[in-house]
Subunit: 426 residues, 2 copies
Amino acid sequence: MQWRREDLHVAVRDPAAASMNFLNEVAARFPDAVSLAAGRPYDGFYVADDIERYLQVFRDHLAGAGLSASAVDRTLLQYGRTNSIIGDLIARTLAVDEGIEVPAEAVMVTAGCQEAMIIALRGLCVGPEDVVLAVEPCYVGFTGAARILGIDVVPVPEADDGLDADAVLRVAREVRESGRRPRALYVVPNFANPSGVSMPTAVRRRLLEVAAEAELLILEDDPYGLFGLDDEPRPTLKALDREQSVIYLGSFAKSVFPGARVGFLVADQVVVDAAGRSSVLADELSTVKSMLTVNTSPIAQAVVGGVLVESEYSLRVANRSKTEFYRRNMRALLAALEQEFGDDPRISWNTPSGGFFAVVSVAFSADEAMVEVSARDYGVLWTPMGFFYGAGGGERAIRLSCSALEPPRIEEGVRRLGKFVRDRVS
Amino acid sequence: MQWRREDLHVAVRDPAAASMNFLNEVAARFPDAVSLAAGRPYDGFYVADDIERYLQVFRDHLAGAGLSASAVDRTLLQYGRTNSIIGDLIARTLAVDEGIEVPAEAVMVTAGCQEAMIIALRGLCVGPEDVVLAVEPCYVGFTGAARILGIDVVPVPEADDGLDADAVLRVAREVRESGRRPRALYVVPNFANPSGVSMPTAVRRRLLEVAAEAELLILEDDPYGLFGLDDEPRPTLKALDREQSVIYLGSFAKSVFPGARVGFLVADQVVVDAAGRSSVLADELSTVKSMLTVNTSPIAQAVVGGVLVESEYSLRVANRSKTEFYRRNMRALLAALEQEFGDDPRISWNTPSGGFFAVVSVAFSADEAMVEVSARDYGVLWTPMGFFYGAGGGERAIRLSCSALEPPRIEEGVRRLGKFVRDRVS
């Protein structure tokens, strides 16, 4: 049986996936190019022997909590609770690290943060009139998740301080006037991917007010929160949330390792049924989870659980060396940009206060054809910002990532980028 | 923020999940009841120490294939290929055990078979006119997956030999006449859940003809194929498939262990794009996978990979003791039913040739209220067959499972069931 590609669901042709495939393909063709495109964590942190140690720590933890040896075996290898076996450990960690106080029942462990997005979107969007808002430029995993479910994503333009409250209200109003319901707003308050932008605390507080006013739930995604350039407190929206307006989407991909494929969501909202019985939203969403992936691999959960136990419930403690590494990299990137472009008024860039990404504004159209030229003739790869917009935008900007390389390579990459950019604008 | 349950997506109120919750809740209230409802694998097979051994076997396998130590570390802990790191091992195992000859690129590893269903459904069903057919009574995970995506499932009544070819053609025609497109047919040819029914080889061949005639792709689910009562060959549809009409949905939950949450799909169909370029369907579906869960935990994949390597690519070999166990259990169940009901013309049951389930037909309505009576007053739990029908059916039948217990408990359960049933029909 042969199929025409057009006869498959539109999600198969996800433009973000096509873009990422394009970047991977260019990277494969020019293996000597420095990749300032790859946003993955640094390879050097990963030692497979750690898996066994963390598994053992978690098994000891269960035994210490009174489980028999066979109960431990079953916990790791048998079918288990849909929502998690480490929800209590995650709740404890959120309290220690983030001041987020939620009961363990409000935590659902997911097959990576990507599944958390799908589950939240599926639970909240009931019919074709339900849409979600997202700050744009937007992480492509979120728009891709919405595409899988056929949910429209309506962009809210990002501001220099992360969010323009008036823009949120205006977009929400326009959506309602068009007969649709805005159900939620997706934001990354800390060091967003792709822009690197963060919200000051005052903006976060204002966002919570606005969300309440516009009857929007907030989907807060926080994969990079541990990696600020300094130790300034950056309260999560969930920590500031007094009205249960926030669903927190958590990732362990950067703070533990990507291979666990363990993420989570925190949904402590109260749900009331027709008979007046109330439950917690995370519990209600367990049905969605059970029909997507049944439960998250307890083996993978156990590895993450071991990390949490070993660090005494602080990912900030567990990540000290990673945090130092990424700080050094971001400083190296920003210093190299200053060195390379500081005297050139035609080139500007933002100065993120942490995370993996920064954005350079250039005076030419930085599209896929330009990526190829850059890789082939200048030996440096980057990501067009246009990839992160739904319908136009970001044409003259590029995303640089500093997570996967060491400082000397970052500096070499920016030198090559300088030559490439100057050849375009002179 | 408080939500009304009616304002959440219908998937939250999945009737199958509600039914399973009901059974779990009854089981918790009557802990001394024998559960002939639980269809999970037997607990006794699971030893957590095995995880580390299998991980090591897989790491050695990678090292033996020439990967450096750091490449092995990255394979297990870093982001990786969307579709799999063990697709080659699975393809080899399918060739050894099932005579299924497909390239490794046709295999996608998923977060359990549940995700394989979601991915296949999402890829194939493009718009609201696209529906899938499923043999009814139907595994609730399949109907639940379709509900997540808003895809209608149209039932085809199960026959005593698994499938009535004319019924498939009739239902497909009716669907087309109603202006919709039947895209695929979901079947479990070996020892189906819930019915225990299997298709003779001739029926399988006829099904392939019928599917081609009706332009239906077949979604073949085969979680119990290793657990026949005898060693008779039962060719999978995929092994018989000459026209790439079959997507094979694979599970390791019973053959390895549920806690891995590793399943897979085999989709070797050719897909051609507008420019005439061809690819393999599993590759096209990788975009869907990437937006659901990015990739399947390579740690979990490594554990399963270790099992495949250690068994020299034969799950039939790796499962010899499990197969013996489940054979003994099914024989014990069937013998106990004969002992209990053999003289009673009002009670009948089927005699599955393997698997975990059998169905007893009774002369009264076996609904949730009856489950509660049975658990409370007779100390035995079972599953109403009505759970497995979309809109009526199975009211006077119950599913018995023999997978989670040892024979003496199965026999005790059937004795209790006998008393319960006779009290209803006399």
